[in-house]
């Protein structure tokens, strides 16, 4: 029998989600197991076995497994990585501790950035120096390297990061030291900055390399177990690990570069969103994924997500291509509170999973966003997760009532206030990735996912002037689904400062050609068939005196510098509102992203009893914007067949989420059974 199953596995700190699909029938199987932080591969294997048994298929019939993971990020947050040392250029061991010499909060004398993961006595220096033109200023002194090796051995370190000045231009010294260390210290993980992130700016590069080394030993163990166990069960399956930039990488690459998984989970969610958008024929989408404590927002344009290159992970700077996702402390558990000046705030403090919102009945006694939704009748009183968890409605009224008492208004007005303030926080986050990047949100469709996303979509869409909302078939498992449809990809970069003069053409072309050759090797190594290969080329550009680059897609020949210059001007005008046609422009880096095609998967079949004229399963009073609650029909999402059209007000319940239709909203269930809402005019 042919291998027909594809599986997505998303490992979180608490749960490991699995989602499998059979390509011919579109049949879907889901499983959720507790994560096993000591060796995360154990939960994956147990979950796979249980999933196959439950759904009645043979793991030998699996053709591909896509894996998303927060293991690296959690290890950073919880500081459970290796004993790590660092080797730097002579006189620069303090660089990674000084950072940018700034403090995180201007007015808070007690707030510090965290100290580096390698303490000062484990940061060693060697004699070497490369200059700004890449030439050797001081040759590498191997005697100084050998002295460091002795210290590393004495300290019994488990991992070493090597970061020299200008190694992105000339990696020779770093590579020589790496080779010497690997030979002398078997079993010790070694990361060199010229491998991890060969880009300009020494502090960010050093920090990224240090984090990578810190993660390597445990991550390698995890990858090793995973690969071996999968090979036993599903010998014909490919295994890919989702990276922060969105595509899958091989297990070997993940073992070398665990820091590339820092945004693995959110990148999978973005990929799931792109898949949903493609199914529904939509090109431009703003996503927002609302969980218990935070919301992730992202912008998808022409079915692709933008990349950001600088981000803090566990308060450390990381420079890497990563999906451009903005996170804000606004979720279902976010607490409503009054600041000292009497203004009402919501979040970032959260009731979390324990005690959770008051309505969970686990001792929460402060009003949360979820309690506000309960008060307004927006969440089903019979509870979440298909009724597995019932809610204490009175507790919600009690805590939101206290907020109302302080404001001197009704409990429903207070509840709406909580949701409005939460929406204002999310709107700021969405503006940061849309308006502030030169994109008008009104040109986008809003796509909520995560358990709580669909409840808050309308308020955000209203504030941003967005007309349509697209709700995926299964908003709660979009991340695991995103792994089913992820293709392979690799990020190549050449960081070099090149003024955009006529002489630049051949230089740029030569760098691009080098990367194309590397890309071909990668395609071969990943066994990607010729007809599934593609690659995108981007130039990081800026005015010669600026310090921030814009990413300019290269569509024509690299020797056509005039087109490149014009594209930069257009991008500058879009981003900053102006450009100077007379000022000199330079390229700071070229980036080539080779990728394999995305796997095709079918749509799952609907429930046999679904209808285009579904009957509500119940009715209940729900508060929208008016002064009265409206008697509102409640539908089960599984009862809605493709082609169904409804008009709000209505509530649509499903296993992992609740969807709210405001009065006047028009709903259409499309062929992929995603729900497209066209907002009524009344709310503007």
């Amino acid at each position: 029998m042919a291998e027909t199953w594809t599986i997505g596995v998303d490992v979180g700190g608490t749960f490991t989600d699995l989602c499998a699909i059979e390509s011919a029938s579109g049949r879907i199987a889901l499983n959720k197991v507790s994560s096993t932080p000591a060796n995360p591969a154990e939960a994956i294997i147990a979950g796979l076995d249980a999933l196959a048994e439950k759904a009645g298929f043979d793991l030998g019939d699996v053709r591909a497994i896509g894996h998303g993971t927060t293991v690296a990020t959690n290890a950073l947050i919880q500081r459970t990585g290796a004993k790590v040392a660092m080797v730097t250029t002579r006189n620069f061991r303090d660089l990674v501790e000084i950072g940018r010499q700034i403090r995180p909060k201007m007015y808070d004398l007690k707030a510090d950035f965290p100290p580096p993961l390698a303490p000062r006595h484990l940061r060693f220096e060697v004699d070497e120096r490369i200059g700004a033109d890449g030439a050797v200023v001081e040759p590498l002194d191997m005697a100084s390297v050998d002295a460091v090796i002795e210290s590393l051995r004495a300290e019994q370190v488990e991992a070493v990061a090597i970061a020299f000045l200008f190694a992105y231009l000339n990696p020779a010294h770093e590579q020589a030291v790496k080779a010497r260390l690997v030979a002398a210290l078997p079993g010790v993980a070694v990361s060199a900055s010229s491998d991890v992130m060969p880009e300009f700016r020494e502090y960010e590069r050093s920090s990224t390399t240090l984090l990578n080394a810190y993660l390597q030993p445990a991550f390698a163990q995890y990858m090793h177990t995973l690969q071996a166990e999968v090979a036993t069960r599903s010998p014909k399956s490919s295994l890919g690990v989702n990276q922060s930039s969105g595509g899958l990488m091989s297990v070997g690459t993940a073992r070398e570069f665990p820091i590339r998984t820092a945004m693995s989970g959110p990148a999978a969610g973005a990929n799931g969103a792109i898949h949903t958008a493609m199914q529904s024929g939509v090109a431009n989408v703003i996503t927002f994924d609302v969980g218990g404590t935070s919301a992730d927002v992202a912008l998808i344009r022409n079915r692709s997500i933008g990349l950001a290159f600088d981000r803090d992970v566990a308060d450390f700077p990381v420079r890497m291509p990563m999906v451009d996702i903005n996170t804000v402390g606004a979720g279902g558990g976010s607490l409503a509170w009054f600041d000292r000046d009497g203004l009402m705030k919501v979040g970032p403090a959260s009731a979390g999973a324990r005690p959770g919102p008051a309505c969970y009945g686990r001792g929460g006694d402060q009003a949360t966003v979820t309690d506000a939704n309960v008060v307004l009748g927006r969440l089903s009183t019979s509870g979440l997760l298909g009724g597995d968890m019932s809610l204490d409605v009175e507790a919600s009224f009690r805590v939101v009532g206290r907020v109302a008492g302080q404001l001197g208004c009704t409990v429903e007005t207070a509840a709406r206030g909580i949701l409005d303030v939460m929406a204002a926080n999310m709107v700021r986050a969405i503006r940061a990735i849309s308006v502030e990047r030169g994109h008008d949100p009104r040109d986008f469709v809003l796509m909520p996912f995560g358990g709580a996303g669909p409840l808050h979509a309308e308020a955000c869409a209203r504030a941003l002037g967005i007309a349509q909302i697209l709700v995926p078939l299964s908003p709660g498992i979009l991340c695991a689904q995103g792994l089913l449809v992820a293709g392979r990809s690799e990020s190549l970069v050449r960081s070099q400062r090149i003024a955009l003069t006529p002489a630049a053409g051949p230089t740029l072309e030569a760098l691009a050609e080098e990367m194309r050759r590397e890309a071909d090797q990668w395609f071969e190594a990943e066994a990607i068939p010729a007809n599934e290969r593609s690659a995108t080329l981007v130039a990081d550009m800026r005015y010669i005196s600026q310090n921030y680059e814009l990413q300019i897609p290269v569509t024509g020949a690299l020797t056509d510098l005039e087109t490149l210059r014009q594209s930069f001007f257009e991008a500058h005008a879009r981003a900053y509102g102006f450009f100077n046609a007379d000022d000199p422009v330079e390229v700071m880096a070229l980036r080539l992203t080779p990728q394999g095609a995305r796997p095709e998967i079918g749509s799952p079949p609907g429930r046999a009893t679904a209808s285009r004229v579904p009957q509500p399963k119940s009715r209940r009073p729900v508060w929208f914007s008016g002064s009265q609650a409206l008697d509102t029909p409640v539908y089960d999402r599984d009862d809605l067949a493709a082609g169904t059209e409804l008009t709000g007000p209505a509530v649509i319940d499903q296993f992992d989420s609740t969807l709210l239709l405001f009065p006047g909203d028009l709903v259409r269930v499309d062929g992929a059974r995603n729900i497209l809402i066209t907002r009524g005019e009344t709310e503007l």
């Binding site: 006189n91 620069f92 303090d94 010499q101 303490p119 502090y203 600041d339 700021r428 600026q546 900053y576």
Partner: protein
């Protein structure tokens, strides 16, 4: 905070204008605008100071020139300049004389509310339905504004005329029309004019962006509600700060410290402070401070006020919003013609060193009342190093200016931070790979200064050492340091930190330079060592844990001799 406190706060303000939810939501929209313009200015500017070191701020003021909202990353020192510019604009121009499309520019500390010349202030009036609502403002530190020395920041100048171009309030745009002659005048008076042009364009674009965004908010909420929200914000912030001051025990708090020198012959310059707290008012009397000096470390009254505002917020309520509501609480008594309230033509370029010292003095004064919030004296400086010359790679003039952090004082519950910007400034360093790519310079070393953080239960943070050499050419070095003579003091028994110094090093050996070196020739075989001050410790050294002392030894930040001398018991034990 107890439930009772929140109830009181909410009810105290509930009757004043719009409700707590509306104010929060509308205010959130304005916070978005100033943050967005802050980032746009940073990313599109050409000056290193702005693009990499974030020495700029953005804000919105109301029609009366009151500061309403400032970007989260804005600098405290810029708080006062913005309102200073507004007062200058509103004094100079009648409301009917201000038109849509105007953009005002100014920098002068003596006639236009500025605090030093390189900070160029921009303000663009916001009109809604033909009526003036307020102003969108930004301020940015240009890498040069002309004057005697490149960078316009070095010591040795005795009149503001030597420090660069003085811009009173001028209209760079009239009703949307660029006044090219004024722009030409601004550019002709700065070194490297094409770079300055890029900075001006970035500031203009940030104004326009802000205007567009405020216009969108006005379309949604209307000018009337916006004005109510603004009033409510100021009222609420003011009440909140007053309440925090009321938490201080009534009484008179005194402190005094001494500045090193002004670079022009005056040394040991006292700053004396007496704070009288009565109920919810605190009066800061600085009238015992030195007369203004010939050198460029004078503060305008505005700049002194910014330091007071910073200290109040930091010590009493770090989370409070920055707006006029705080400035209104800063009651200052100063003597015109003194170092904290200078009059023309006093030079002011290095006023930040004095601002830093004023903050130390305020913390020193209030420490007995606020032992948990107070910290040891920090590096108390804004150590500035400027290298300039002709780049041998292309024959063009270059100018590299950097301000370095140092030690941050020991705290009530932990050590002071090593090598960081403190108090009134928070500008980043420039990456070494950026310095060496852009300028013909080599960074020879960069690290912490040994034994520079004072001892204590919680030690002071270490100063920074950076060594810079010219590559294949001779160049010029200018610098400005403070706390090079008067060390940063410890608090509650903590010992003092090590002072800073500039050293010229070369084949002939090392020469210690003055604290404010001006136009020092630097040969290709020489280098400059910049060592910034450390900071004072908190609590007596005897109280430091043996584990922490062992950590000091292991880290190599201290010598055995220092540790033996300061922690004899822990070292023996």
């Amino acid at each position: 905070m107890t439930l009772h406190d929140t109830l009181t706060a909410a009810t105290a303000t509930a009757s004043d204008g719009p409700d707590a939810i509306t104010v929060e939501i509308v205010a959130s929209a304005f916070r978005s605008v100033v943050d967005e313009t802050f980032i746009a200015l940073m990313k599109s500017a050409y000056s290193t100071n702005i693009k990499e070191r974030h020495d700029h701020s953005t804000a919105i003021c109301d029609r009366a020139g009151r500061l309403i909202v400032q970007a989260e990353m804005s600098l405290p020192i810029h708080l006062a300049s913005m309102t200073g510019l507004m007062q200058a604009v509103l004094t100079r121009y009648a409301p009917e004389d201000i038109r849509e499309g105007d953009i005002f520019v100014a920098n002068d500390p003596h006639v236009a509310g500025g605090t030093h010349l390189p900070d160029i202030n921009y303000a663009a009036p916001i009109f809604v339905d033909g009526r003036l609502l307020g102003f969108v403002c930004n301020i940015a530190h240009h890498a040069d504004i002309g004057g005697m020395v490149p960078g316009s920041m070095a010591g040795g100048m005795s009149e503001i005329y030597q420090e660069g171009l003085r811009i009173p309030v001028v209209r760079l745009f009239r009703a949307g029309e660029l006044q090219q002659d004024i722009l030409d005048l601004l550019l002709l008076n700065a070194r490297i004019p094409q770079e300055r042009r890029g900075d001006h364009f970035a500031q203009i674009a940030a104004c326009r962006l802000g205007l567009r965004r405020v216009g969108e908010i006005a379309e949604r909420y209307g000018a009337a509600l916006i004005e109510q929200v603004w009033d409510s914000l100021l009222t609420r912030t003011h009440a909140r700060m007053r309440a925090a001051i009321a938490g201080l025990p009534d009484g008179v708090y005194r402190f005094e410290d001494v500045m090193d020198d002004d670079g022009c012959g005056t040394s040991d310059i006292p700053i004396r402070l007496e704070i009288t707290v009565t109920g919810d008012r605190a009066v800061f009397d600085l009238r015992g401070s030195a007369p203004q000096v010939k050198g460029n470390i004078n503060l305008t009254r505005n700049a002194a006020k910014a330091a007071v505002a910073y200290a109040l917020r930091t010590l009493l309520d770090p989370e409070i919003a920055n707006n006029e509501g705080i400035l209104d609480c800063c009651e200052l008594l100063t003597e015109p013609g003194s170092i904290v309230d200078c009059i023309a033509p006093a030079p002011v370029a290095q006023r930040l060193n004095t601002s830093q010292r004023l903050v130390d003095v305020i913390i020193g004064a209030l420490a007995p009342a606020l032992p948990d919030a107070a910290v040891g004296a920090s590096n108390g400086a804004n150590t500035t190093a400027v290298f300039s010359g002709i780049d041998p790679r292309n024959g063009r003039p270059y100018l590299y200016l950097e301000t370095l952090g140092g030690g941050a004082g020991g705290r009530s519950d932990r050590d002071g931070k090593d090598g960081v910007q403190v108090h009134i400034t928070n500008t980043s360093n420039l990456p070494i790979e950026a310095i060496e790519t852009e300028y013909p310079l080599r960074v020879v070393s960069y690290g912490f200064v040994e034994d520079s953080g004072g001892a204590g239960r919680y030690r002071g943070g270490a100063g920074l050492r950076r060594v810079i050499a010219p590559v294949e050419h001779d160049c010029t070095f200018n610098g400005a340091g403070e706390r090079f003579a008067h060390a940063p003091w410890g608090i509650f028994g903590g010992t003092e930190g090590r002072p800073g110094r500039f050293v010229l090093t070369g084949p002939e050996g090392e020469t210690v330079l003055v604290a404010k070196p001006s136009a020092v020739p630097l040969r290709r075989d020489q280098a400059v060592i910049v060592e910034t001050p450390g900071s004072g410790g908190y609590g007596t050294p005897a109280e430091r844990s043996a584990g922490a002392v062992a950590e000091d030894a292991l880290s190599g930040k201290y010598t055995a001799a220092f540790l033996d001398r300061n922690y004899p018991a822990q070292r023996r034990g």
